[in-house]
């Protein structure tokens, strides 16, 4: 069972998609039910990963079999501390998305469910792939369902947003493909196996180019400033489920790509470019926060806040200390929960009023008290109030990055303050004050279905805030091994002119 568990996780949604595709046009409830059941089963199955996971750095649940032997391509999957929780995040959010879209998706339900399930399979595939070819296949294949989700079920400017999303990410990833091919040829191992390639040294001059090609692909996905311009369009125009998956999971693939591929494969170049990555991350943090501050549109505000939050992730990765990277992985998870929940909440408001303009609302606190309670709590977690999930990640990142660059930490802290500003100001305008708009009178509070979507997210936001060690102890061994390995490999003794390796920063805070 354990040796095939990851394959099952990928194949189950695909099988579900095929099953749904075979159903007739009229049976929409059945299609939704199959979708929910299959994604629910996938989530249940994925919990076996958590149960069977050992808190060590090695790859687990590994399965490997030849696929295209002539090119040394194999079907090689496995997880470690970097990917475990990202897989769980994917399987956790997908059923919630299907449940959350139960009544808001009215046309072409069959296709919607099919694409959601295919998307899930692709996302899990990206996180478990241990072969460059396999990784690329999942990475790209996922674009198609997402493109359809935005383009078919999105809002007014959906086609523009869908094409922009597709071209942006496709452009980034094809450069990565060439980098993979050059790496394959240069390593001379006749293999696309990631662990094997990581172990093989690459010429530092070549590393620069290959790292840049991969980094652009991942930076677009994250998205890092200035590669972020596709994000507001895609997030705003996508249907709620699309926005949740985009923000919750797809963006994480960028950070994950840095940690799994770009940095370990090209350690020299990664360490050389770390200051640049750090600066871009800090710009992203502040820029995202400032732009969020002036957004009149709720969904856009949440979208730009993602740029800011993901900036923190990249800062931790640029610092590349154990604490910082653990913080980055944690921030990726908690952003998936908080921002996912925020997109759900904005979507629910949109379902009721068909507008997302902040100015249209006011005084909702009295009309929808439960909705308000959930919204406030999630908002607090988004601005990293201690006791919520957001705090743990950002704190670890800031602490872990101090040794990398104190001034970057200082400027980033500004982002934390700004976040409190734009979120609380938005909460004030939407929920407090008098009900000025008569259309808002009598809006229904959360339905049972909506509560069922939100409660798991709220619970997790708090659990991840107070019981973080349950999560970090599984992340840390892998991160620690990665950081050590990269630091050793990037500062070899082969040349006299290379600078001595930076000592591990003293006084690192253990998460």
């Amino acid at each position: 069972m354990n040796t095939h568990l990851l394959s099952l996780l990928v194949l189950l949604p695909v099988a579900g998609a095929v099953l749904v595709a075979l159903t007739g046009r009229g049976s929409e409830s059945l299609q939704k039910a199959i979708g929910l059941a299959v994604s629910g089963a996938t989530f249940a199955l994925s919990l076996l990963l958590v149960a069977g996971f050992q808190d060590v750095a090695t790859l687990q649940f590994v399965e490997q079999r030849p696929w295209i032997p002539a090119w040394g391509i194999s079907y090689h999957v496995g997880i470690d501390g970097l990917s475990l929780w990202l897989v769980i995040l994917t399987t956790f959010l997908t059923p919630l998305c299907l449940l959350g879209s139960w009544s808001s998706i009215e046309k072409r339900v069959r296709e919607f469910v099919v694409f959601m399930l295919l998307l899930e399979a692709g996302m899990i595939g990206v996180f478990v792939a241990l072969d460059l070819f396999l990784f690329y296949v999942f990475w790209e294949a996922m674009l198609i369902p997402m493109y359809f989700l935005i383009g078919v079920w999105g809002h007014e400017r959906r086609i523009y947003a869908a094409i922009k999303f597709f071209l942006y990410t496709f452009a980034g990833s094809v450069l990565m493909l060439v980098a993979f091919l050059v790496l394959y040829k240069n390593a001379g191992l006749g293999s696309f196996d990631i662990p094997k390639l990581v172990a093989a040294p690459v010429d530092p001059a070549l590393q620069t180019w290959l790292f840049l090609a991969c980094a652009v692909a991942f930076a677009i996905k994250v998205p890092m400033w200035p590669f972020h311009t596709w994000l507001p369009d895609a997030h705003v125009e996508a249907p709620t489920a699309g926005s949740v998956i985009l923000a919750g999971v797809l963006l994480k693939m960028g950070g994950y790509g840095f940690l799994r591929l770009a940095i370990p494969l090209f350690p020299d170049a990664a360490m050389r470019f770390a200051p640049l990555v750090g600066v871009l991350a800090v710009i992203g943090i502040v820029y995202g926060a400032l732009v969020s501050l002036v957004q009149p549109d709720l969904k856009k505000l949440v979208a730009y806040s993602s740029v800011s939050h993901l900036g923190f992730v990249m800062l931790g990765i640029a610092a590349f200390t154990t604490t910082g990277v653990v913080g980055s992985v944690y921030q990726m998870l908690s952003h998936g929960i908080s921002t996912g929940a925020l997109f759900f909440l904005v979507g629910m408001l949109y379902d009721r009023r068909h507008t997302r303009q902040i100015a249209e609302f006011g005084g909702l606190k009295a009309i929808m008290p439960w909705y308000f309670a959930v919204f406030l709590l999630i908002s607090l977690s988004s601005i990293a109030v201690p006791g919520t999930n957001g705090f743990v990640g950002e704190f670890l990142i800031l602490v872990g990055s101090w040794s990398f660059s104190p001034w970057m930490v200082a400027v980033s802290s500004l982002g934390v303050i700004l976040a409190a500003g734009y979120v609380l100001w938005m909460v004030k305008r939407v929920f407090y004050g008098e009900v000025t708009n008569p259309k808002n009178q009598g809006l229904p509070d959360l339905s049972a279905r909506e509560a069922a979507v939100l409660v798991p997210l709220v619970v997790l936001a708090i659990v991840m805030g107070v019981a973080s060690p349950a999560f970090t102890r599984r992340i840390e061994p892998s991160v620690d091994a990665l950081v050590r390995q990269v630091r050793e490999r990037s500062s070899p003794v082969r040349a006299a002119d290379t600078v001595p390796p930076p000592a591990r920063p003293p006084g690192e805070v253990r998460p």
């Binding site: 295209i68 383009g151 496709f170 450069l175 091919l181 040829k185």
Partner: protein
């Protein structure tokens, strides 16, 4: 030939197809007026028999060269036999409903298709330049006729004439190239040419190089690579759609087959001379083809420019070592044939009362009206873009992988290739946008998809996905075929 008995077994597939063509013509002549002659089933039967003979040749004895070494049935030619016969069979399946919808149900169509197939079979098995030229003409002349078969449409006439004039032009280049090579090496046999070009005297080297360049021009016309592509958009647009599909898949496969054989088995000694040329052709084809396709509103013109671009992708691998290049190109030609037959076939399948979808917006809302057809067309377009999990992605991966293996020039080619793939995504996706994201316009006037067409499209789509997920078996076959090329 040293044996007393003339062994013609290697010619069996081509002979079967040729005889079937004659039978189709005769049946047509003896069918009473007002009755439909069973041309399509006969053609299918003949193609199936020919495929069977390919199978027998591939698994059993009977291989080797015949007619004083002019034609051969080695692994390479058998690989292409199977491909070309498959392309012809799928075209036959797609044809009846299209011909009926456009009022051109005539037996000549199938006879010409079969004769053209004979030419393609000869093209990929020629070991000698003159027989190669004859095969090229057999293939082309039949196609000129097919392109102009829709007599009532002026575009079809224009298409046939343009194809004929430029084709004749290309043939002249080709012949001149053969003549110069003969002058330099004293032979038209590929084996002998290979032997003499490696020991050329300084005086005859320029002659040989010029001959090679002229051959490249001739092939450039046939595979529609820039700057020898001008005919393609008009011809593709004007010809009956099923013929366009057949041309784009079959001619491209056969011409690339011959190109590979001539250059990699006879002229490897001059590789340093022709490889830069091929590299330039690849780059301009990819750039011009894709950029021009961006501006098209006509579906068939867009696919014509896309075909030019794909000739460019294929040429990128050609700079690599013969084995690597051959393997990648053979795989890609199969993938491309399935996808292009599917794409043109999907357009042809919608034809009704002399009309067919011409512009991208004619497909608006197709996903609501013909969900299965729209899904199949999406698979083909995704594969043309080169996105996993389709054959097009694996194909491009090998092509660019082969190119990268030769160093910086190959890396440059691969970079142009992937960047242009991104450009191509825009125009391919526009069709998907029309089908899935636009509302249907007006009445549903497109024809019902006939069972034969549906079957053919399903086969093409299934193959596209299967090769995308499980490419290893075909890749192994391609490797075996490519190996026979360099022996």
């Amino acid at each position: 030939m040293t044996g007393a008995v003339l062994d013609l077994r290697p010619l069996a597939p081509a002979a079967i197809v040729a005889v079937t063509g004659l039978v189709v013509l005769l049946t047509q002549a003896f069918t009473p007026r007002g009755k439909e002659s069973p041309s399509a089933p006969l053609a299918l039967l003949g193609l199936a028999a020919a495929l069977g003979s390919v199978w027998v040749l591939a698994t059993g004895p009977g291989r080797g060269s015949v007619l004083a070494g002019a034609l051969t049935a080695d692994d390479f030619s058998l690989f292409f036999h199977a491909l070309v016969l498959g392309v012809a069979a799928i075209t036959v399946l797609l044809s009846p409903s299209y011909l009926r919808a456009n009022g051109m149900e005539r037996g000549e169509y199938y006879a010409l298709l079969l004769f053209s197939t004979v030419g393609m079979l000869g093209l990929v098995s020629s070991l000698e330049l003159v027989s190669l030229f004859v095969a090229l003409e057999i293939m082309s002349i039949a196609l000129y006729g097919m392109a102009g078969l829709d007599r009532r449409r002026r575009e079809s006439q224009e298409s046939a004439l343009k194809y004929f004039v430029t084709g004749a032009f290309a043939s002249a280049f080709f012949l001149y190239g053969i003549a110069l090579l003969y002058g330099a090496t004293g032979s038209t046999s590929l084996v002998k040419i290979a032997r003499s070009v490696s020991v050329l005297s300084p005086e005859s080297l320029p002659l040989a190089v010029l001959g090679v360049a002229l051959l490249l021009v001739g092939f450039g016309f046939k595979v529609a690579s820039v700057p020898f592509h001008m005919w393609a958009p008009d011809v593709y647009e004007g010809a009956p759609t099923t013929v366009t599909g057949f041309m784009s898949a079959g001619v491209k496969a056969a011409a690339f087959g011959a190109l590979l054989r001539v250059f990699d088995s006879a002229l490897p000694a001059l590789a340093s001379q022709w490889q830069p040329l091929v590299g330039v052709l690849a780059i301009v084809s990819m750039v011009v083809g894709n950029l021009a396709a961006l501006a098209q509103t006509s579906l068939k013109r867009m696919l014509a420019y896309s075909s030019i671009a794909h000739a460019g992708y294929l040429l990128t691998a050609f700079v690599a070592a013969p084995l690597v290049a051959g393997e990648a190109m053979l795989f890609y030609l199969v993938a491309y044939a399935a996808v292009n037959l599917g794409a043109f076939g999907a357009l042809a399948a919608l034809s009704r009362d002399g009309r067919e979808p011409l512009a991208v917006r004619d497909l608006s809302g197709l996903a609501d009206r013909r969900p299965a057809l729209a899904a199949a067309l999406t698979v083909f377009l995704v594969s043309l873009t080169g996105i996993p999990i389709t054959a097009g992605f694996v194909g491009k991966f090998y092509l660019f992988g082969a190119a990268v293996s030769v160093g910086s020039m190959g890396i440059a080619l691969a970079l142009v290739g992937v960047v242009m793939s991104v450009v191509s995504a825009y125009y391919y996706l526009r069709v998907v946008v029309a089908m899935y994201m636009s509302e249907p316009e007006g009445e549903d006037t497109w024809g019902p998809v006939s069972p034969a067409s549906a079957f053919a499209l399903a086969v093409a789509a299934a193959l596209t996905l299967l090769l995308g997920v499980w490419p290893a078996p075909l890749l192994a076959l391609a490797r075996v075929a490519a190996r026979s090329l360099i022996q």
